[in-house]
């Protein structure tokens, strides 16, 4: 364990250390790989976080299939579908932003980031109107569940215990929306850094891993949408 070996420091190979290479890394590749691994690990815990909710959804759906079927009729399929399209499109623009950043195209990166942020905001706006309708119709969790007939979609009979469905609906879509808000905040920060010229062909780590996070948020919605709106 030759600590006495006088190995050169990272900057000793003749090249200057780039400014963005953090103090504890030796090479840019090490820094990039570490950041990506960190994000994947974080996403692993996110899978378990949402996974627990999906388990609870399955348990309740298995216990009360009719109640779930009737309650899900009250959700707005058109708004849900629109949101799905908006979010998948934002995932595409996030991927294009990474692509542009990798090629060092600063303006294109900014543009794609802006579109991504805009799509995320549209998603939240649509979600807001959906929630507002549920509040107006009294479709709320637990004891607050007091449906008002004139606001309801006619069709299957709403069961009196539908509060559990809406508890899950609000918890799962709410936590997903919270992740969207976090995504917007981080993307705005990335956009500012991009405008400042912090990124280059050599260094685009933050764009890359934020997009990775965004794809995950998108993926969660792709599971939420059919479970609540379609089946």
């Amino acid at each position: 364990m030759s600590t006495a070996t006088a190995t050169e420091h990272a900057s000793g190979d003749g090249r200057a250390r780039p400014k963005w290479l953090l103090h504890h890394f030796d090479t840019p590749a090490q820094q990039f790989g570490t950041a990506r691994l960190g994000m994947w690990l974080f996403l692993a815990q996110e899978v378990l976080f949402f996974g627990a909710l999906f388990v609870i959804y399955s348990v309740f759906r298995a216990s009360y299939p009719e109640m779930f079927k009737a309650a899900s009729q009250q959700l707005d399929k058109i708004m849900g579908t629109t949101n799905t399209v908006v979010l998948i499109f934002s995932s595409l623009t996030a991927a294009l932003a990474v692509n542009a950043a990798q090629k060092g195209k600063r303006h294109a990166t900014s543009l794609y980031l802006l579109v991504t942020i805009a799509c995320a905001c549209v998603f939240l706006a649509i979600k807001f109107f959906e929630y507002q309708h549920k509040f107006d119709a009294g479709l709320l969790p637990g004891p607050a569940f007091k449906p008002i007939d004139e606001h309801l979609v006619k069709g299957l009979d709403l069961k009196s215990n539908s509060g559990s469905f809406f508890a899950l609906y609000f918890m799962m879509t709410g936590l997903h929306a919270l992740h969207v808000v976090v995504g917007i905040v981080v993307f705005i920060w990335i956009l500012i850094r991009n405008l400042r010229g912090n990124f280059s062909k050599e260094y685009f780590t933050a764009v890359d891993i934020t997009a990775l996070y965004w794809h995950f948020v998108d993926l969660v919605w792709i599971f939420l949408f059919p479970l609540f709106y379609l089946i």
């Binding site: 364990m1 030759s2 600590t3 070996t5 006088a6 190995t7 050169e8 420091h9 990272a10 900057s11 250390r17 953090l22 103090h23 504890h24 030796d26 090490q30 790989g33 570490t34 691994l37 960190g38 690990l41 974080f42 692993a44 815990q45 996110e46 378990l48 976080f49 949402f50 996974g51 627990a52 909710l53 609870i56 348990v59 309740f60 216990s63 009360y64 969790p141 637990g142 004891p143 607050a144 215990n161 509060g163 559990s164 508890a167 899950l168 918890m171």
Partner: protein
């Protein structure tokens, strides 16, 4: 970096001859440091404070149980005291104690790295922990909780203020506190896996990794995969208490057993978050103080990973009497027995390492040996509880209390203290008084056994846990247990005084006071900001005593320690020139 956080400066700016303690002096240099060693030390101070608080609750409980009926406190206060003892000890102490405090200080040095993979996340995790702890304190000021540390629903989730039938104690701040500290635990886990994958020095292959690093890797897997489930469970519990969601409360169409499944899906693996890093420390200690490579290195490393994975499959054994399908109970019982295999692999390998080793019974080694002894008792009594028929009798008795204290105190706390004694000279730069250390160990070891051994008897005779009062035939055994808690408390006071004395006027520690071959002892004491004077290149394993040079093992060796009797017959006596 223009941020307020302070990295030690670029590699070339830092004088490798200053220690991390001297670099960036001042309060701000500590509070905003990115140095893993300083963050680890701040974590250490925090968890030791939590340990003291939890200990006070424990002494209060034992004092109350000294006589039948009311001794000191009323039943309501007693309920709160045992709940807070559990919450503080588990969430504020045991979970962060080894990974976040000792692991933070030692892991990067053992990897030959300059820092952990994400130093800012590391600092953030400390502040999230402190923020979470503030919620816990807030809850305690408002009367604490009386639900037990398990927060079983619907008692915890049904708020009388909203027409419920449950507890009126301060549940929401406490569950939020645990939720917040969970984030801190996840961040530590993410950081450690990334660090072990990406930050190893050249030549430090996976087969050369220290067993402590392997155990932290296994722990990090659990932290990442289990903690989020607790987070969502407590979030649902909080929302249920707040809004009446109807997920866990049967009055609202919920399922309380579902809560227990979710709670134990985290909290059983959490047992391995607590014990596995302790096992890692013990593996390192046994190697160092036997002067030999651990027997079955790879088996010990893989058994940590096996424990981490098996830990996810056995949560159901906490629910044998909760109303679960009897086929599920059989499966969970069988899976529970599997846990004995990797645990047994470890114990047998440690013993095989000791066999024909050159053992020196210095203070860290005493803790390691206590670990083996006490953990074996704790582990074997766990098998009783994993048996379906026996569990029906023993469930919720003092037998369970004794069992998990043998694992958590006899295991984790012994491992933690062993690691603290072992690495103390490295990160403080000070030696401590060995006689005091041995005396402290003696009191803790004896006190612990006196406190908890009788509880196995109490439990098997039917004394229910969490009970404020008891039948007259249990009084004598309870009194033995309470006297034991005083001995135990005195032992901890002695150790505390010993460490304070060491800080105030301990002699400076040499580079390698134990004559270990491991990497963290190859760097100056206390280590420079970047851990090594120059980037290390690893040419042998952490335990290759046959490849370590005499200089590496004995350079600057302290004379009184060298003449220590147990060192005779060590690696190379020809070297001694004292």
């Amino acid at each position: 970096m223009a941020a307020i956080t302070t990295a030690p400066g670029t590699y070339d700016e830092v004088d490798p001859n200053t220690s991390y303690l001297e670099n960036n002096k001042g309060l701000m240099g500590w509070l905003f440091t990115l140095d893993h060693k300083r963050i680890g030390v701040m974590y250490l101070i925090s968890v030791l404070m939590a340990f003291a608080l939890g200990g006070i609750f424990a002494l209060l409980l034992r004092a109350e149980l000294f006589t039948k009926g009311q001794t000191l406190i009323d039943a309501e206060t007693y309920n709160r005291a045992f709940s807070l003892h559990g919450v503080v000890m588990i969430f504020l102490f045991l979970i962060p104690a080894i990974p976040a405090a000792l692991g933070n200080i030692i892991l990067p040095i053992q990897l030959g790295a300059k820092d952990v993979a994400f130093p800012k996340l590391n600092l953030l995790s400390l502040y999230i922990y402190v923020f979470g702890a503030c919620f816990a304190v807030y809850s305690m000021i408002h009367g604490g909780v009386d639900t037990g540390w398990t927060f079983y629903t619907p008692y915890s989730s049904s708020d009388p203020a909203h027409g419920g039938v449950g507890t009126s104690s301060s549940v929401i701040p406490m569950t939020l506190s645990v939720l917040i500290m969970g984030f801190s635990s996840v961040l530590t886990g993410v950081n450690f896996i990334a660090t072990i994958h990406k930050m190893r020095a050249p030549g430090l292959t996976w087969r050369r990794l220290s067993l402590f690093a392997w155990s932290l890797y296994a722990t990090a897997i659990i932290q990442i995969l289990a903690t989020p489930v607790l987070a969502i469970t407590f979030l649902l519990l909080t929302m249920e208490r707040f809004l009446g969601l109807g997920i866990f409360d049967p009055r609202l169409g919920g399922d309380p057993v579902l809560y227990q499944h979710f709670f134990w899906f985290y909290s059983h693996p959490a047992v391995y978050i607590m014990i596995v890093p302790g096992m890692g420390i013990v593996s390192d200690l046994i190697a160092t103080f036997s002067r030999r490579e651990p027997f079955g290195y790879m088996a010990i490393a893989m058994s940590s990973i096996a424990l981490a994975l098996l830990g996810f499959l056995v949560w159901g054994h906490h629910l044998f009497v909760a109303g679960m399908s009897e086929y599920a109970t059989m499966v969970f019982s069988a899976l529970t027995f599997l846990v004995a295999i990797p645990s047994g692999v470890k114990v047998f390998n440690w013993i095989a390492t000791l066999y024909k080793g050159s053992i020196s019974l210095q203070s860290p080694m005493l803790w390691a040996l206590s670990f083996i002894f006490l953990f074996t008792i704790g582990g074997l009594t766990g098998l009783f509880l994993g048996m379906l028929a026996v569990d029906v009798h023993l469930h919720d008795t003092y037998f369970v209390v004794a069992h998990f204290h043998y694992v958590m105190v006899g295991g984790t706390v012994m491992g933690f203290l062993g690691g603290l004694h072992y690495w103390w000279p490295k990160f403080t730069g000070k030696l401590y008084n060995e006689s005091w250390a041995i005396a402290g160990w003696l009191f803790v070891f004896l006190g612990f056994n006196v406190t908890f051994l009788v509880q196995f008897v109490l439990g098997s005779r039917g004394m229910p846990r969490r009970s404020y009062d008891y039948l007259p035939q249990y009084e004598f055994l309870h009194q033995i247990s309470t006297v034991g808690s005083w001995i135990l408390g005195f032992g901890f006071l002695l150790l505390g005084a010993m460490f304070v004395r060491s800080l105030l006027n301990g002699r400076p520690a040499p580079r390698n006071p134990w004559g270990s071959a491991a990497l963290e002892w190859m760097t100056p004491t206390p280590p420079p900001p970047y851990n090594f004077v120059s980037d290390p290149v690893i040419t042998r394993g952490q335990y290759d005593y046959h490849l370590a040079t005499d200089d590496e093992l004995y350079e600057g060796f302290d004379d009184p320690l060298l003449s220590h009797k147990s060192r005779k017959g060590g690696v190379d006596e020809g070297k001694e020139d004292a």
